[in-house]
């Protein structure tokens, strides 16, 4: 049985959905970060597989840049998390609700 692009894409979709469930379900900011990472990785898989399918390197390039962005995000995000934790003593989203309209 040949493993085609569909397999990779379906995997990517399932992983993305898992990350999505995480984003929706978790209230802890750190967990949200994890979920985001999962989603980014899912997308990376999709990029790499499509690139492979077309025999085009652009897919890999995008995945590469996504990794770079993810890395920056983690760096800045964690810094912010630490500040938040110092301020509120918690990373729970419900505690930090200052944007009520």
């Amino acid at each position: 049985m040949e493993i085609g692009i569909s397999h990779y894409l379906i995997l990517s979709g399932i992983l993305f959905s898992i990350g999505f469930v995480g984003v929706l379900r978790r209230k802890n900011l750190l967990m949200l970060f994890f979920a985001t990472e999962i989603m980014l990785n899912a997308v990376n898989i999709a990029f790499a597989s499509i690139g492979n399918y077309y025999g085009d390197l652009s897919g890999q390039m995008f995945a590469f840049f996504i990794i770079a962005v993810a890395a920056s995000e983690v760096a800045v995000g964690l810094g912010l998390l630490i500040i938040l934790y110092k301020k509120y003593g918690s990373l729970d989203l419900d505690v930090i609700s200052t944007m009520k309209g």
Binding site: I3, I5, S6, Y8, L9, L11, S12, G13, I14, L15, F16, S17, I18, G19, F20, V21, G22, L24, R25, R26, K27, L30, M31, F34, A35, E37, I38, N41, N44, I45, A48, G51, N52, Y54, D56, L57, Q60, M61, A63, F64, F65, I67, A68, V69, A70, A71, S72, E73, V74, A75, V76, L78, G79, I83, Y85, K87, L91, D92, T98, K100
Partner: protein, 194 residues
Amino acid sequence: MYEFVAFYIFAIATTILFLITVMSKNVLYSMTSLAAGMVLISGLFFLLGADFLGVVQLIVYVGAVMALYSFAMMFFDATKDVKEKHGNSTLVFLLGGLMALVFVVMFSAPIIGENIQALYPVGLAENLGVSGNAQDVGLVLFTKYLVPFEVAALMLLVAMIAGIILAGKKMDYSLTECEASDEELQKEIKKEEA
């Protein structure tokens, strides 16, 4: 056959690991399973012939990002279970499940457009007498994607400095807003609500 087995092993393992990440109450477990999942995804990359990407994945994610997370964990109490109120779990799973279903349906549909030409075909470097994914990537990255690459580098630098400053010495008070005024704001909000 070899690819078949490898794919399914990697696929099922990552799925399970990531599920653990999302579901686990313990941050440590989550993080560990996440790291493991990342490693397995790099395996997928290797399978796809994206060797360089797989390596980057290992180095950046599993090496750097996970290390950052672990350091960050030291600021938070990681041993305690995370207490969360789960509002409407059914809705969440429904949405997630629906999304997965849509993806599956979408991607299992036959793909059209096989005649699309590759813009930067694999094996570009072979013309230059060298072969291998890393070489190809290098060639594309430093020609076509040079500017984005440099921008990404700059972005990483900025992020690094930002991370250092945010998590740095002056952690006692907010850098964006004065705490006192923030409290006042909170009070006002409460008043308005009342």
